[in-house]
């Protein structure tokens, strides 16, 4: 069904222009770093991301592809700036900067590939192209024992998750008999009896494993526990990368997998969508609640943000639930539907915006002023790492405090900031599933309603710890202040995120990818196969 793997046509190359450009830029940066004394790797990386972003996205692919690429490049741009302003001492930075920048670009190319992938092989290759550069990035910061611990923890768990995900893919292959997602989708919806039997036997295994694999990328239950340790152990910019890009990959994969069945009218497809939303709903409720409750007691800034990122994975899973349940929706009454997948992607956009902003701001803050008198030896530099390090930031660094305040309130979902519009879309899409059907305990409406209530209660819990940060910045006196030595580019990234947030407040649809249906039944990307062309 799918074109042979060897056929690399001009169309294929054309369709993969952004990815090819990213990898080419990465290679160029590696070479320059190895053979010249040029050390501004992040500057080159900036150009490397800017070119694909500036070029119009190539034709081909559905709107999920376009959205995934767009988000990858936009978030990548912000994160390049954040990492460019890394707070490590200049001497250390000179050694690794080109390697890091190049590796990061490969990560972006992999992420973009996940959005493009129309078959299982390409999808897996894309996911690994996200994972492996992440190990390297974590491992490059190997100077501290905590950094090593973080890198190892992430490495082993990520391998485990990849293996589990691969098993899930194998099951899908078993159901569909082909690696092409379009073919698997057709099989599921064909009503073919053999497929049906096969599907019903394999499905729990397949969906379960795929969900667990994606859960790791999203930092969702049951693969969430690594997040606080890893975030704490690594540097702030890298924590920013971890809390955004893998999550993007996980969400795109899940949306893509749900999109396999656009109309769940055959038993196999119905079972597939049904299992998907049930698993997603349970995981969503657990993830939100666990993430938020864990965050309440954190004092370390990065641990707190890790827990917050877990909680947001839960909100995103709510959208996934709505998308999967909506696929088999029995309600015809609502004329204009808010699609669960659209809502998820919109929420993801608001989340990426606010989270990149938060990490940019914290990176920018850099180190605290040391308590140091001429008679005592100079103490080691202390990074801004705990909540109390932010005390009185509003009086010492008002702009950063204001920006952080905006991002945190957006994450908390306070209207009219973008996060609120995201949550509004999520809840609307969830409530709309089967709207018009009676609520019974046997029906799924009751469960979805319960999930909606869980979401809003969680939003209230989350407000508590976001407010704690804001209270620290605005209501406490500054004791030592911060040096704000994180670098100009991190500050620029923060301001950029702030400007976009404010714009998205007044024109919220700016972040929405308004294409009618991102989950149309048409064949996913026309970019045919070949992973070979780009990842060599």
């Amino acid at each position: 069904m799918s074109p042979p793997l060897a056929a690399v046509t001009a169309a294929t190359v054309q369709g993969l222009v952004p990815e090819i450009l990213l990898v080419a830029a990465a290679i160029a940066i590696y070479l320059i770093g190895a053979f010249t004394s040029f050390r501004s790797g992040w500057l080159l990386a900036f150009i490397g991301v800017a070119i694909p972003l500036w070029l119009a996205t190539p034709e081909g692919g559905d709107s999920l592809t376009a959205f995934g690429r767009w988000m990858t490049l936009a978030a990548g741009m912000a994160l390049v700036l954040v990492q460019g302003g890394d707070v490590r001492p200049a001497s250390h930075r000179r050694l690794g900067t080109c390697e890091e920048a190049g590796t990061f670009l490969i990560l972006l190319a992999g992420l973009s590939l996940v959005a493009v992938a129309d078959n299982l092989v390409l999808l897996f290759v894309g996911l690994e192209m996200v994972s492996i550069p992440t190990y390297i990035l974590l491992g490059l910061a190997r100077t501290s024992s905590r950094g090593q611990e973080a890198a190892l923890k992430y490495f082993f768990l990520s391998l485990l998750a990849s293996a589990i995900f691969l098993y899930g893919m194998v099951c899908l292959y078993g159901i569909g008999g082909d690696v092409s997602l379009a073919v698997i989708g057709e099989k599921l919806q064909s009503g073919d009896v053999t497929t049906e039997r096969m599907t019903l036997a394999m499905l729990p295994l397949a969906v379960g494993m795929l969900m667990v694999g994606a859960a790791f990328r999203m930092a969702a239950v049951p693969m969430h526990f690594y997040a606080p340790d890893v975030y704490e152990g690594t540097s702030t910019p890298l924590a920013g990368v971890l809390s955004t890009l893998p999550k993007l990959a996980g969400v795109v994969v899940l949306v893509r997998l749900i999109g396999l069945v656009a109309e769940a009218n055959q038993p196999a497809a119905l079972a597939y969508a049904g299992l998907f939303w049930q698993v997603a709903a349970v995981l969503a409720a657990l993830t939100m609640t666990i993430g938020n409750l864990m965050a309440l007691v954190q004092t370390n800034l990065r641990r707190l943000l890790a827990c917050s990122s877990i909680a947001h994975a839960g909100y995103l899973l709510v959208g996934i639930t709505a998308a999967a349940a909506g696929t088999g929706s029995m309600s015809e009454a609502v004329t204009a539907k808010v699609d669960g997948a659209d809502a998820t992607l919109y929420y993801l956009a608001t989340y990426l915006l606010a989270t990149s902003g938060v990490f940019a701001a914290i990176t920018y803050l850099g180190h605290r002023w040391p308590i140091w008198t001429p008679t005592t030896p100079r103490p080691p530099r202390e990074e801004v790492s705990t909540v109390s390090d932010l005390d009185g930031l509003a009086s010492t660094n008002p702009v950063v405090a204001f920006a952080l305040g905006v991002f945190l309130l957006s994450l908390a979902g306070i209207p009219p900031l973008p996060g609120f519009w995201g949550k509004l879309s999520l809840v609307t899409s969830l409530l709309e599933v089967d709207w018009g059907m009676p609520v019974t305990m046997a029906g799924r409406r009751a469960w979805l309603l319960a999930l909606a209530v869980t979401l809003v209660i969680n939003a209230a819990i989350a407000a508590a710890y976001y407010l704690r940060l804001i209270a620290a910045m605005y209501f406490r006196p500054a004791e030592r202040g911060v040096q704000a030595d994180g670098g100009l580019s991190a500050g620029l990234a923060m301001l950029g995120c702030l400007v976009v947030s404010v714009m998205a407040t007044f024109s919220p649809r700016m972040l929405a990818f308004d294409d009618e249906s991102s989950l149309s039944a048409e064949a996913p990307p026309a970019v045919a196969s070949t992973s070979k062309a780009d990842h060599d």
């Binding site: 808010v338 209207p415 009219p416 609120f420 809840v427 409530l431 018009g436």
Partner: protein
């Protein structure tokens, strides 16, 4: 300065409203709209307008912000720009709440009022301000996210039954009148759940006992002008929400819940008054008295008797003026003597006659002295509730209603007790404590900005007290329109419950007149049967 301009504009709007024909029709006026969040099917409009329900609250907000600015004239030496900025932001959000015609826009403003107040409390509050700010935010946020679910459910129900996904409040109200949310068991009594969700959100804002605990703490920690805003108009959002959403959109659920809410209103009145009676801190006392007075509004609203609802609606304005005045004067006293302990104050009237005079005026207003504004509102609420008890309560609720109304009267008496007791100790008698000390020697009477803050309140207090009818007339049509559905639903419940009760009565009891006289409910029924045509 800009708050004065806003006041001027709002005043013009109010005047134009009074001369427009919107009063008679109960419709909206001065409306404008543009698209906001139009992504695919969700077309949320930035759509604003005023009607009889919101016009006075809108004006009150503009007026009280000016007062708050004058009260806080010297309060914020540090970071004054931020302080006034936040006050104006709060004003903008409040004006938005009252003017919003789009349900999501309403929610956006509703929620956004928290942000400026959070910072006002947290930065310029007193010692325990961080806890107060966070508690205030979490408490009200938790309630309003549930209310948000309720509002969304309304929108979606409307969409699924009329095929139009709209967020326009007027359209929704009209649509729900023809397609009410279901109240049947197979639907899980959906309407009751939606009502409950809205109730949680609005009751916390009001606040109704038992979810009032954030209020005294917040008042205690807030600077005076924050308290003026909080008591003056922020607490009105809850009742405005009931009047705008619960009553017209969810009539059957309102009818079921109404007796319980009247009971909660009465409990708030008595509880607030009793707790106020034992307060040692002047400001905490006023805070609890506002719990008590908001109980009146709740009671009047859910008596679902036209007089009572109009009274409650007017009482919102009345108590807004009076409590804002009280909080402002208490703030001035604190500024001068650095204490608010009732035991440490005394004889202020001899040191500062003008301040004392204003304090007396606001006190008399809150205790409902005839000729001042609160008397009108309280009288209407009580009259309506008694009327409901005598002629229109469900069969087994008549005595309860009567008891509740009597409790409310007792609340008025208690209110007079604690207020006058405090006034007597603080304003009159010998100088003592702080007033006798060093602070007392330097105490000066009202400055120009303080007069400017208090005088307009006084003018309106007297005006509404003497000649309330223009105020009532302007909102009567809108209030009637929004309570009509609920009143009817309640009336039909009353009829049904009576028919049931009479049937039971006829079956079970012998024609023994003496016996029925001792049974409270039955007696009331027999009287009302005489009254009924």
């Amino acid at each position: 300065m800009s708050s004065l301009i806003t006041l001027g504009l709002a005043g013009t709007l109010v005047l134009r409203f009074l001369s427009s024909d919107a009063i008679a029709s109960g419709g909206f006026f001065a409306s404008g709209e543009f698209d906001w969040f139009v992504t695919g099917p969700l077309d949320i409009q930035f759509s604003v307008g005023l009607d009889g329900l919101s016009i006075w609250l809108f004006g009150l907000t503009a007026l009280l912000t000016v007062s708050a600015v004058f009260v806080g004239w010297n309060a914020a030496e540090e970071k004054a720009v931020g302080f006034y900025g936040l006050l104006l932001l709060l004003e903008a959000a409040m004006l938005g709440v009252f003017a919003a015609r789009d349900i999501i826009l309403f929610y956006v403003f509703f929620e956004f009022t928290l942000v400026p107040l959070f910072f006002l409390i947290g930065i310029w509050g007193r010692d325990d301000r961080r806890r107060a700010a966070v508690k205030f935010f979490i408490y009200t946020f938790a309630g309003s996210v549930l209310a948000f679910l309720g509002l969304l459910a309304i929108v979606l129900w409307h969409a699924s039954h009329t095929g139009v996904l709209t967020f326009d409040i007027a359209t929704l109200t009209a649509g729900l009148a023809s397609h009410p949310l279901p109240m049947t068991p197979e639907w899980g009594y959906l309407q009751l759940w939606v009502f409950g969700a809205l109730l949680v959100g609005f009751a916390i804002k009001v606040p109704i006992v038992p979810v009032h605990t954030w209020l005294p703490l917040v008042h205690e920690q807030t600077p005076a002008c924050g308290s003026v805003d909080l008591a003056g108009f922020l607490l009105k959002i809850g009742l405005y929400g009931f009047l705008r959403f619960s009553l017209p959109m969810l009539p059957e659920a309102t009818a079921i819940a109404a007796p319980w809410l009247v009971a909660l209103g009465a409990i708030s009145i008595i509880y607030g008054a009793l707790v106020a009676l034992v307060q040692k801190d002047l400001k905490r006392m006023v805070a609890y008295s506002s719990v008590s007075h908001m109980g009146f509004c709740v009671m009047g609203l859910f008596a679902l008797e036209p007089v009572a609802v109009e009274g409650a609606n007017l009482q919102l304005i009345n108590y807004g003026l009076a409590s804002a005045g009280l909080f402002a004067t208490v703030g001035m006293i604190y500024e001068r003597y650095h204490t608010r302990k009732i035991a440490e104050l005394g004889g202020i009237a001899s040191q500062m006659p003008w301040l004392a005079a204003f304090f007396m005026l606001f006190t008399f207003s809150t205790i409902g002295l005839p000729g001042l504004n609160c008397f009108v509102g309280e009288f209407m609420v009580l009259a309506g509730t008694f009327q409901r008890a005598w002629s229109g309560a469900p069969a087994d609720w008549s005595t309860t209603y009567l008891t509740l109304a009597l409790l409310a009267v007792a609340g008025v008496v208690l209110g007079a007790w604690y207020m006058l007791q405090a006034v007597e100790r603080v304003l009159f008698g010998p100088l003592r404590g702080a007033t006798a000390g060093e602070h007392g020697d330097h105490a000066r009477d009202l400055a120009w900005n303080e007069v400017a803050a208090l005088a307009p309140l006084g003018v309106f207090i007297v005006w509404i007290g003497i000649y309330p009818s223009p105020f009532l007339k302007a909102s009567a049509a809108a209030v009637t329109a929004s309570t009509q559905a609920s009143s009817q639903a309640f009336a039909s419940r009353v009829v049904a419950s009576r028919a049931e009760a009479t049937a039971e009565h006829g079956r079970s009891s012998a024609p023994d007149v003496d016996l029925t006289l001792h049974l409270g409910p039955s007696r009331i029924i027999s009287t009302s049967n005489h009254l009924a045509p």
